[in-house]
Point group: C2
Chain length 343, copies 2
């Protein structure tokens, strides 16, 4: 965190700091009535249902500041929450941000974080309506609450999948995980010999997937444009296996997923080969892709095939049949929730 200028947080104080960080924020959404600076935000959601999600990101667990620029972290912290709102078939409209900050951070560091956060908010049409900062004994703690809207009764839950539904996924999987492997490898090399610059050429896509992910607003819009209402939906933050099992558990059903249908990017595949990692494992258990996983009635196969950002990877079956991967070589193996944030 080399900085040209370093202003200590103590120079501004707690209230001065949050004022400094939020004074340029303008509210743009009709539903945002009162923002930063009161005991609570005031929102008017008219006849829409309100969606609320909250995420806690901890230094050393969810991010490593050795290779995560604070601007990217601010961007990603927002995106992770937007993704949860899109996964309900909703639109994110407001965020509230609380930070716990230790002495190693300067005002400029927090400005960087806020730059990334507000960039994400601007890109997705979201207002920052609340925020505070606290001192922390250790490192950086980020708590983000995101509020969004959905037409009354139109929220898509994890629990709505039906037997014979097509299982679909957006984008590609495993790229964010491979981006992380690359960063970890280069960090090790860097720690051994600081004069060696990391070599990221030809791997920009997977790095961006890890450091600056996007949420699939486009997919939610495309589904609406094609009149497709998923029966069930979840975003993929902890790996395909884990999310599929959540969806099946909540929907009281099982599933079959075809290994050869899982969408994988070329850069991820190439690095997996170079690092001798199993690509399917990366796609099944690697986290942080923030793609959407959803099911639609089989009769919508035609409509789904018209959306190139999305592809079918399997189908929903009875719960008694279990949740399984059909491998390339014709075997069936049980999906296991490896998960991402493990204790």
């Amino acid at each position: 965190m080399a900085q040209e200028k370093r202003t200590e947080i103590s120079e501004l104080g707690e209230f001065g700091l949050i004022k400094h960080l939020t004074e340029h924020i303008k509210l743009t959404n009709e539903s945002s009535k009162v923002g930063v600076g009161d005991d609570a935000a005031v929102l008017d959601y008219g006849d829409k249902d309100v969606l609320v999600t909250s995420d806690l990101l901890l230094e050393g667990i969810h991010f490593d500041l050795t290779y995560t620029p604070l601007k990217h972290l601010g961007y990603k912290a927002a995106i992770v929450n937007f993704s949860d709102i899109y996964a309900m078939n909703g639109k994110p409209k407001q965020v509230i941000v609380s930070l716990g900050v230790s002495r190693k951070f300067s005002v400029e560091n927090l400005e960087e974080f806020y730059d990334g956060l507000t960039l994400a908010c601007n890109n997705y049409g979201v207002d920052v309506v609340g925020g505070d900062t606290n001192s922390s004994m250790t490192g950086l703690t980020i708590s983000i609450t995101c509020i969004g809207e959905v037409e009354k009764g139109k929220a898509v839950l994890r629990s709505g999948a039906k037997v014979n539904d097509l299982i679909c996924v957006s984008g590609d999987l495993g790229s964010a995980y491979m981006g992380l492997q690359l960063l970890e490898r280069e960090k090790m090399v860097f720690n051994k010999a600081a004069e060696i610059s990391p070599d990221f050429s030809g791997k920009e896509y997977i790095l961006e997937r890890q450091l600056k992910p996007e949420a699939r607003k486009d997919v939610v819009d495309l589904l609406a444009a094609h009149n497709i209402v998923p029966n069930a939906m979840i975003d993929i933050s902890d790996g395909l296996s884990s999310e599929l099992l959540h969806l099946c558990t909540e929907s009281h059903c099982g599933c079959r997923v075809y290994e050869d249908k899982i969408p994988i990017d070329y850069q991820a595949a190439s690095l997996a080969e170079e690092m001798n990692l199993n690509l399917t494992t990366a796609a099944l258990n690697g986290g942080e892709d923030y793609e959407l996983l959803f099911t639609v009635p089989l009769s919508m196969n035609e409509e789904i095939s018209q959306i190139q950002q999305v592809r079918p990877i399997g189908y929903i079956c009875r719960q008694s049949l279990g949740s399984r991967l059909l491998t390339r070589d014709g075997n069936e193996i049980d999906l296991i929730a490896q998960g991402w944030k493990s204790f």
Copy 2:
């Protein structure tokens, strides 16, 4: 944190843990449509405005587990957020709880925390609609988001105070701070000689104010029953001085507060004398009272005097006159925002 039984969190895993902690939760409010277990909570606020507030509580900064039982901590963590909603003239309806937990905590520890949290929720009619747990490198991190309702356009902001308004405060001030001083003193004694039991007799009230505070739902209800709508309101979490200055800044005004009108409890006064601490300083700068500070038009003096839980302590004046305390000995001194959570 001595426990008869200790179940490691790893025995349940991340998803098993949150399921275990939340499986008994029932939704009781009409506005709570979908709770724990999806990507976001789904809420229907009909024609009400929505209030949202979020708080981050960090071990070693906001609480000390040496003398804070986890059940009390869970209770207090909820109350702090309810208080923010009442301070908007609203009613809390839902909370979302995210925990960051290090290895020193067992499943039983987290059950205690949840016991306290759900007790507060039951007492105040609030639903737990979301929650997750994360591993943490250090100690306990608690993030709570509270969602509440208020009649459309009836939210009371910090910015509405008018010149000549009466300044009123509920309950008494400085008690939570004196409770903290007592706990800190007994902790020091205990650290020196573990066989000495702390002596808390006759000090139960100030201890409870620190360890198990309540939010002033009753005051919001009483104001409504007396048809009193405050012009401005804020809850006192960081001390009277700090909150008065926030209110005056946001309302572009100044204030005069009479030292001899500041309500102080007998136990707090007695301990302050015993410990040779200045009582007014405790009331002005001690935090965590969670009383309500509000202003009403002077014409409501009569109505206010009928509510015994509330008393006038001063008045609002022009901004150019500053914000001052009128002391018992007839001096005027500037109010200073000492604040509570300092960097």
